[in-house]
C-alpha cells in the first residue's frame, strides 16, 4: 500500500499520462486542420495580460488543490511508515521459534540462516542474537531505575547495517567489537530515561535470577542499527549468555534487507519464502517490518478516508471554478463571439476556438498548479514538523513522481473537459442577441408528439444530409429527458439494482433520479394542460399565458426538485435502520455525493427564486434614501442572470461547505487524538516502586518532605492507585450476572477529584465535592468511569461512547493503563502468577486474563441513568477475584472517560478492605504527580527517582509516553488542521478570482451606469452589496449543509470501522472565522476592480472590447 487515499495516485499515473498525451495529440491534429481557429484562440491570450493572469490563476487553483493533497499524502505515508518501523530499526525479518517462544536454540541455526540467504542479493545483513525481555535496570550513579528493558547481545559477523551503531550525541560510529564483557551500551531512550552517562554503574535485575544482580559499566549511548526507541541495552554475547546461563545459543536471528530501511520491505516476501523451505520446523521467519508498515497504514485509514473526501471536494471546487471562470470569460466576449458567428463561423468553430484558448491557459495553469501545490504541501509540513519533532521520529517532505504526474494530468484533463463543456454551453447563442448583448429569447420547444412525427418523417428517403436527418431523433431523445420519462425509467432501474446489492449510494441516486423525473413529468403535464386550456379558451393571449406559466412552473420545479434533493440527501445515512431495514453500504463516494447533492440541490432551489427571496431585503435596502437606485441595481443583476448567479452561489457554498466539513473533522480528530494533556488528566509524572512498596500517598509525601523538600514543593498534586482484580454484579440490572471490571483503591488528590472529572452524580448530590466527600468518608461509596455504563445509559446521561475497556486497562492503574511503563500487561501475560486462585472466582479470574473475554464479560451497568448528569445511587456487589468474600458498594458518581484514559471502579482502601482481608496486595502501587506550572517535568521525574531509589521508583513523564503512543494520530490531526488552512487559503483565492472576474466582465455595464449618472462610489457600493449578497447566502448555505453532513457522518459512527470514540466537535469560532473570511475575500476582491473600473471614463468603458 503506497497511499492513505482510498486510491493510489501512483497506480493511476500511467493511464492518466496516456490519456493526456492522446488529448494533446488530438488538439495538435485539430490545430493543423484549423490553424486559423488556433490563431484566433491564442490571439486572445496575450491581449489582456491582467485578465490572462487572473484566468490562469483561477484555473491553477484546481491543480493546486490536487497537487497539495497528493504531496501531503506522500508525506503522511512516509511519516506513518517511519513511525511503524521506528522501533524495528534496520530489522526487516526475524527468525524465531514457532509460536513465539523466546527459549534459546543452538547458534548453529544462525549459520543455517546465513547459508540459506548467502546467494540472496537483497539481504544486507544477518545477525543471530540473544534477547532477554523485561529486565530491570538500575543506574546507581544517576540513581534511576527502569523496568521493562530488553537486553540484547548480537553476533556481529556479517550483521551489516544491523550493527551500524553511532554515538547518540556525537554521531561517531561505534563498533560492538570494542565492547567489553563488563560493559553495556544503552540505546538513546534508555540513556535518557535513566539519565545515564558513560562510566555509570548499572545493575541488572530479572525474575530469572531472583535475589541477585549483575553489575556493568555504561560504555555509551548509541542509536542506529537494529535499535529502535524501545528501552534496550546491548551486552556482549558472552556477558548475556552468562547472565541467561546459556552457552552457544541464540533465540532470534535478525535480517536486514538492502535499501534505506524502508525501501527494502518489498524483498521480504522472497526472503521469508526462501527461509520457509530452509529452516527446521520449529523455527519460523516473519516479515516484521512489512507487517508493521501494513498495520500502521491500516490504522491510519481513517485519515485516508478524510483525505480522499477532501480531494474529491477539492476537485469539485476546482471544476466549478474553471466552469465559472470560463463562463465569465465567454460572457465578457459574447458580442465578439456573436460577430464571429455573424461572419460565418459555425458553432463547432466557436467551441474549438475557445478550446484552443483554454488549452493555452490550461497548460500554464497545470504547471503553476503543481508548483503551488508543492509549495503549500511544504508549508503545511513545515508548520507541523517542529511540533512533531518532539516525538523523535524523522519527518521529511516526500514527493513521489507518480503523484505529481497524476496531479498534472488530472488538472489538465479535467480543466480541458470543463472548458469544453463551458464552451459548448456558451456557443449556444442567437447571433442578434449576442451582438446587442441581450438575453437569449425563449426557444421554441415543440411537444414530444410533434418531435416524434418529425423524427419518423425523417425516415422517409430525401436528399437531406444524414446529420440533418438524425437531428429530429436527437431532439426527440432530448424531449424524453425534459419530460421526465427517461429519468423515471433510469431511477426505477437504479432502485432495483440498489435493493439487490444493498448499495446505499445507488439507492440514493436512484431515488434522486426518480424524483427528478417525477418533477419534470409533473411540470410537463401541467404545462401541456395549461397550453391546451389556453388555446381553447383564450387563443389570443395563449402565447403570453404560456410564457408566464412556463416561468412560474420553472420556478416551482426548481424549488421542488432542488429542495427535495437537498432535504433527501440531508437525511442521516442510517435513516433506513429506524424501520428495521438493514443499513445500506456506502463509503466515501456516498458522503461526497451527499455533500454535492445537498449543495447543488439548495442552489437549484434558491437561484431561480432569488428575486422573490430578495424582495424583503430589497424593500429594506430601498428604504435607504439616497442610495436607493444603487441598491435596486445591485439586487437586480443576480436575480436577472440566474445561471451565472447559481454557479457563483454553488462555488461559494461548496468552498464554505468544504471548509466547514474539514474544520469540523479536523477539530474532532484533534480533540480525540491530539489531546495529550487531557489524556494525562492534569498529571505530569507517573511512578511505581519496582523494589518495595512506598506505603501510600502519606508515607511518600512525608518521605519527600523530609528527604527531597525541593521536589516535594514542586508538586501540585500527588495521588496513588492500587489495582484490585474485581468481579462485579449489579443485582438491579436486567439478567444480572457476575462480570469483571478494572478497579483501584485510590488515595491522595484523586479523592479530591483531581484528574477524575465527574460526568454524573447520584440523585441527591448537589456538587462533585459532596460526592468526593462521601467517597472519602463513607466506606462503600465509589465512583466508576463512563465505560462501565451501557449505551442506553450513556445516551441518557448525554455522554458519548468511550472506548471499551481493554485487557491492558483491566488489572492496570486507573490512569494511563496500557502506556509503556504503566501497563500491567506483564501480569496479564502470566495470569497464573498474577491472579492465582483456586475455586471461588477462579473461572471469572480467567476471564480477566483473556483479552478477548475481557471485552465480552466486562461490566455494563444498566438502567442507572436518570437524566443528563444524574444517576440513581446504584448497588453493586464486588469480590476480589483471588478471594472468596463479597462486599456491597454504592456507585454515587460517574467519571468522565471521554479521552479513554481513565478506567475503573474507584474507592478508598477502606471500601475494599472487607474483600482484601487476608490477601496480598495485588500488582503495584502507582503514583501520579501534578507539578506546579513552570517546573520541568523531566527534571522532577529524575529527582523523584533519585529520592526513592531504595524503592526502585521508576518514573515516567506522561506527556512523553502519550505522545509516543499517539504520535501518528497527533501528526495527521495537525496535518488536517493544516489542510483546513490550505482550503481556506485556496478557497479565498478562488472566491477572490470569481469576485474580480464578475466585475471585469461588466466593464461595459459600469460605463453605462456611469453614463447614467452613477458615481464611482455608487458603482463600488453596488458591487459590494452584490458580492455581500452572494457571500452571505453562500456562506450560510455552506455552514448549514456542512454541519448537517458532519452530524450525519458522526451520528452513524462513520469511522467506527477503523476507530471508536470519535465524536463530532463543532469549532464555532473557527467556523465564524471561515465564513467571515470567505465573505470578506469575495467582497474585497470585487471592490478593487470596481474601483478601477469606476476610474475609467464612461465613454472608454462603453467602447470596451
Amino acid at each position: 500500500m503506497n497511499s492513505v487515499f482510498e486510491f493510489s495516485p501512483d497506480s493511476v499515473a500511467k493511464p492518466l499520462a496516456i490519456a493526456t498525451a492522446l488529448v494533446a495529440l488530438l488538439l495538435i491534429w485539430q490545430a493543423t486542420r484549423t490553424p486559423h481557429l488556433l490563431r484566433i484562440g491564442l490571439r486572445n491570450v496575450p491581449r489582456r495580460k491582467l485578465r490572462t493572469a487572473l484566468v490562469v490563476f483561477g484555473l491553477m487553483l484546481a491543480t493546486t488543490f490536487v497537487a497539495s493533497a497528493i504531496a501531503i499524502d506522500d508525506t503522511i505515508v512516509l511519516a506513518v511508515k517511519s513511525v511503524a518501523v521506528y522501533n524495528l530499526g534496520r530489522i526487516d525479518e526475524q527468525v524465531v521459534r514457532r509460536g513465539g517462544s523466546t527459549a534459546p536454540f543452538s547458534a548453529a541455526f544462525g549459520d543455517e540462516v546465513r547459508d540459506a540467504l548467502a546467494s540472496n542479493g537483497h539481504v544486507a545483513g544477518i545477525a543471530p542474537a540473544l534477547t532477554l525481555s523485561n529486565v530491570l535496570v538500575a543506574d546507581e550513579t544517576a540513581r534511576q531505575v527502569r523496568g521493562g528493558v530488553t537486553a540484547l547481545a548480537i553476533d556481529d559477523v556479517g550483521a551489516g547495517p544491523l550493527t551500524a551503531f553511532s554515538d547518540s550525541s556525537s554521531g561517531a560510529a561505534i563498533s560492538l567489537s570494542t565492547l567489553r564483557d563488563n560493559q553495556i551500551l544503552l540505546n538513546r531512550n534508555t540513556a535518557q530515561l535513566l539519565n545515564a552517562h558513560t562510566g555509570d554503574t548499572i545493575y541488572l535485575y530479572s525474575d530469572r535470577w531472583p535475589g541477585s544482580r549483575y553489575t556493568f559499566t555504561v560504555a555509551g549511548a548509541v542509536t542506529g542499527g537494529l535499535l529502535g526507541d524501545a528501552p534496550t541495552i546491548l551486552l556482549t554475547m558472552p556477558a548475556l549468555s552468562r547472565v541467561m546461563q546459556v552457552s552457544n545459543a541464540v533465540n532470534v536471528v535478525y535480517i536486514a534487507n538492502t535499501g534505506n530501511g524502508l525501501s527494502g520491505v518489498g524483498f521480504s516476501d522472497g526472503i521469508t519464502d526462501t527461509l520457509r523451505d530452509a529452516l527446521p520446523g520449529f523455527l519460523a521467519a516473519h516479515a516484521v517490518k512489512a507487517d508493521g508498515v501494513a498495520l500502521s497504514l491500516r490504522a491510519q485509514n481513517i485519515f485516508g478516508r478524510i483525505l480522499t473526501l477532501f480531494t474529491l471536494f477539492a476537485f469539485a471546487i476546482g471544476l466549478l471554478l474553471i466552469f465559472l471562470i470560463f463562463s465569465l470569460l465567454a460572457a465578457e466576449r459574447r458580442a465578439e463571439l456573436g460577430i464571429a458567428r455573424a461572419v460565418g463561423m459555425r458553432r463547432s468553430h466557436v467551441v474549438i476556438m475557445l478550446l484552443f484558448e483554454g488549452a493555452a491557459y490550461d497548460v500554464a495553469a497545470a504547471v503553476l498548479g503543481i508548483a503551488s501545490g508543492l509549495g503549500l504541501g511544504v508549508l503545511i509540513v513545515g508548520l507541523v514538523s517542529p511540533i512533531i519533532a518532539r516525538l523523535g521520529f524523522p519527518l521529511q517532505f516526500d514527493i513521489q513522481p507518480g503523484g505529481m504526474v497524476t496531479a498534472f494530468c488530472l488538472g489538465s484533463l479535467f480543466t480541458l473537459a470543463t472548458i469544453l463543456l463551458a464552451a459548448w454551453n456558451i456557443s449556444r447563442m442567437t447571433v442578434a442577441s449576442a451582438l446587442r448583448d441581450l438575453p437569449e429569447p425563449p426557444a421554441l420547444r415543440p411537444g414530444p408528439i410533434t418531435l416524434a412525427r418529425e423524427a419518423f418523417a425523417s425516415l422517409v428517403p430525401s436528399g437531406a444530409p444524414t446529420g440533418n436527418r438524425l437531428l429530429p431523433w436527437g431532439k426527440l431523445l432530448g424531449s424524453t429527458f425534459t419530460t421526465g420519462i427517461v429519468p423515471i425509467i433510469v431511477g426505477i432501474l437504479l432502485l432495483r439494482a440498489a435493493v439487490g446489492s444493498f448499495d446505499g449510494l445507488l439507492f440514493a441516486i436512484g431515488i434522486s433520479v426518480l424524483a427528478v423525473g417525477l418533477v419534470l413529468l409533473l411540470r410537463w403535464t401541467i404545462l401541456a394542460a395549461i397550453a391546451l386550456l389556453a388555446r381553447w379558451r383564450f387563443p389570443a393571449t395563449a402565447a403570453r399565458t404560456m410564457n408566464r406559466a412556463t416561468e412560474r412552473s420553472d420556478r416551482l420545479a426548481a424549488l421542488a426538485l432542488g429542495g427535495g434533493l437537498a432535504l433527501y440527501w440531508s437525511l442521516p445515512f442510517d435513516a433506513l435502520q429506524s424501520l428495521g431495514i438493514p443499513r445500506f453500504t456506502g463509503g466515501i463516494p456516498l458522503v461526497f455525493v451527499a455533500g454535492m447533492m445537498m449543495v447543488f440541490g439548495s442552489v437549484i432551489a434558491l437561484a431561480p427564486n432569488l428575486d422573490l427571496l430578495l424582495k424583503p431585503v430589497s424593500w429594506l435596502l430601498t428604504q435607504g434614501g439616497r442610495l436607493r437606485h444603487v441598491t435596486s441595481v445591485a439586487l437586480l443583476y443576480p436575480a436577472f442572470h440566474r445561471f451565472r448567479t447559481g454557479i457563483g452561489l454553488a462555488l461559494f457554498s461548496l468552498v464554505c461547505f468544504t471548509m466547514i466539513v474539514m474544520a469540523c473533522i479536523a477539530a474532532s480528530t484533534t480533540k480525540n487524538y491530539d489531546n495529550v494533556p487531557q489524556q494525562a488528566s492534569g498529571y505530569d509524572i507517573a511512578g511505581q516502586p519496582l523494589f518495595q512498596p512506598v506505603g501510600g500517598v502519606n508515607a511518600l509525601s512525608q518521605y519527600l518532605r523530609a528527604r527531597a523538600p525541593a521536589t516535594f514543593d514542586a508538586m501540585d498534586a500527588i495521588s496513588s492507585a492500587t489495582p484490585v482484580p474485581l468481579g462485579v454484579i449489579q443485582p438491579g440490572a436486567p439478567d444480572a450476572g457476575w462480570r469483571v471490571y478494572p478497579a483501584s483503591e485510590i488515595d491522595g488528590a484523586f479523592l479530591e477529584g483531581t484528574g477524575l472529572p465527574l460526568a454524573a452524580r447520584a440523585q441527591g448530590y448537589t456538587s462533585d465535592t459532596d460526592v468526593w466527600h462521601d467517597v472519602r468518608t463513607h466506606p462503600g461509596d465509589v465512583v466508576i468511569d463512563a465505560s462501565a455504563l451501557s449505551p442506553g445509559d450513556l445516551a441518557a446521561l448525554g455522554l458519548g461512547t468511550p472506548a471499551p475497556v481493554s485487557a491492558s486497562q483491566f488489572l492496570g492503574p486507573p490512569l494511563g493503563a496500557g502506556l509503556p511503563g504503566l501497563s500491567s500487561l506483564e501480569a496479564l501475560n502470566q495470569p497464573t502468577t498474577s491472579v492465582t486462585v483456586e475455586g471461588g472466582f477462579s473461572a471469572i479470574a480467567l476471564l480477566a486474563s483473556d483479552p478477548t473475554l475481557v471485552s465480552q464479560y466486562h461490566t455494563s451497568l444498566r438502567d442507572i441513568a436518570l437524566g443528563p448528569g444524574i444517576i440513581a445511587p446504584t448497588t453493586l456487589w464486588v469480590g476480589d477475584l483471588r478471594g472468596q468474600s463479597v462486599s456491597k458498594v454504592r456507585v454515587i458518581g460517574v467519571v468522565n472517560n471521554v479521552h479513554a484514559q481513565i478506567y475503573g471502579l474507584l474507592g478508598t482502601p477502606a471500601t475494599f478492605a472487607p474483600i482484601e482481608r487476608g490477601l496480598q496486595p495485588f500488582g503495584n502501587e502507582y503514583f501520579y504527580f501534578g507539578i506546579r506550572p513552570g517546573v520541568d517535568a523531566h527534571n522532577e521525574a529524575l529527582a523523584l527517582g533519585s529520592a526513592l531509589l531504595e524503592n526502585g521508583f521508576e518514573t515516567t513523564v506522561l506527556q512523553d509516553v502519550l505522545l509516543s503512543v499517539n504520535g501518528p494520530q497527533v501528526f495527521i490531526s495537525r496535518v488536517l488542521v493544516g489542510l483546513v488552512g490550505l482550503t481556506l487559503l485556496v478557497g479565498m483565492a478562488a472566491l477572490a478570482v470569481t469576485g474580480s472576474r464578475a466585475v471585469v466582465e461588466r466593464r461595459q455595464q459600469i460605463g453605462m451606469l456611469r453614463a447614467l449618472g452613477f458615481r464611482r462610489s455608487h458603482v463600488q457600493v453596488m458591487f459590494f452589496i452584490e458580492s455581500l449578497l452572494i457571500g452571505v447566502v453562500g456562506a450560510g448555505l455552506g455552514l448549514a449543509l456542512g454541519l448537517i453532513l458532519c452530524r450525519n457522518l458522526f451520528a452513524v459512527d462513520f469511522f467506527a470501522a477503523i476507530t471508536t470514540n470519535l465524536t463530532l466537535v463543532v469549532p464555532w469560532r473557527e467556523l465564524a472565522l471561515i465564513c467571515g473570511a470567505a465573505i470578506a475575500a469575495s467582497a474585497l476582491a470585487a471592490l478593487i476592480p470596481a474601483w478601477q473600473a469606476g476610474r475609467i471614463a464612461p465613454a472608454d468603458a462603453l467602447r470596451y472590447e
Binding site: L571, A796, G839, S842, A843, Y857, L866, Q884, S885, K888
Partner: protein, 234 residues
C-alpha cells in the same frame, strides 16, 4: 422489488426518532418479582453457545414471564461452601421471591465429604428460609454416569455416590422447607438426547439449558400465581 419495499424505504428515509427525554423509568419496578439463581458453571452458562444469554437460569426467567427479574449468581467451579460466602450475601440482599439452588457436582469432583456438603447446603437453605420470603427450589444430582466427563470414573461407585448425595440433598431440603427438583428422576432423557450436553461432556449445551429450565419450570409453574401475589405482580 415490490412497491411495498420501495414505499417502506421511502418512509424509512424520514427523520430518525430522537433519544428519550430527560427522565427515565428504571427497568426493575417494585411490582417485578426477583428470581435468584444460586449455582455454578452451568448457571454461568459454561457449555452454552452464548453463555451470557443461553444459560439455564436465563431460559427459566423467560419461562417465568417478563415480570421476573433474574439475578444469576452462578460462578464457575463453586462448591456449596464457596457459594455461601460469595453468592448467599448477594441473594439475601436481593430480597428474592424465588430462588433456585443447583450445586453439588463441583463438591463431588473436589471430593468434599457428603456430610460436609449436607451441612453447608442446609446452612445455605436455612439462611434463605429465615432471611427471605422466597420459595426455594433445589436441584439434585442428575445421573452423572450418562456424562462422558465421568466415563473414567468407577460407574458403580459413582451411582452409589450420587444416591448418597441425593439423599443428603433431600434431607436438607426437607429440613428447611424448600422444594426438591428431582433432576435424577426428571431428567433421565439425557441418554436419548446427547445434544443436551456440551462438547466438554459435562455442562449443559444451549439445548440442554433450555430443557433444564423446563424441568425446573414444570415444578415452579403451579406456584407462580402465589409468587406474583406475594410481590404484587400481576
Amino acid at each position: 422489488m415490490s412497491i411495498f419495499t420501495l414505499a417502506a424505504m421511502l418512509v424509512a428515509c424520514g427523520p430518525s426518532p430522537r433519544p428519550a427525554a430527560t427522565v427515565r423509568q428504571l427497568a426493575t419496578s417494585p411490582r417485578d418479582f426477583t428470581y435468584v439463581a444460586i449455582g455454578a458453571s452451568d448457571a454461568f452458562g459454561v457449555g452454552a453457545d452464548d453463555p451470557a444469554d443461553d444459560n439455564w437460569p436465563t431460559a427459566l426467567s423467560h419461562l417465568l414471564g417478563s415480570d421476573a427479574h433474574l439475578v444469576n449468581l452462578g460462578i464457575p467451579g463453586e462448591t456449596v461452601a464457596e457459594a455461601r460466602r460469595t453468592e448467599l450475601p448477594v441473594a439475601l440482599d436481593a430480597k428474592p421471591s424465588l430462588v433456585t439452588v443447583w450445586l453439588g457436582v463441583n463438591d463431588i469432583v473436589q471430593s468434599v465429604s457428603v456430610k460436609e456438603y449436607e451441612t453447608q447446603l442446609e446452612a445455605l437453605l436455612r439462611a434463605l428460609q429465615q432471611r427471605t420470603h422466597a420459595r426455594v427450589f433445589v436441584g439434585n444430582i442428575p445421573d452423572l454416569t450418562l456424562l462422558s466427563f465421568f466415563a473414567g470414573y468407577d460407574q458403580t461407585a459413582l451411582q452409589v455416590t450420587i444416591s448418597h448425595w441425593n439423599a443428603a440433598i433431600a434431607q436438607a431440603v426437607a429440613a428447611t422447607g424448600a422444594s426438591l427438583v428431582d433432576l435424577y428422576a426428571g431428567w433421565n432423557e439425557l441418554a436419548a438426547h446427547p445434544e443436551y450436553i456440551a462438547g466438554d461432556g459435562l455442562h449443559p449445551s444451549t439445548e440442554g439449558a433450555k430443557r433444564l429450565a423446563e424441568v425446573f419450570f414444570s415444578q415452579i409453574k403451579p406456584l407462580l400465581p402465589t409468587l406474583r401475589a406475594a410481590t404484587g405482580a400481576p
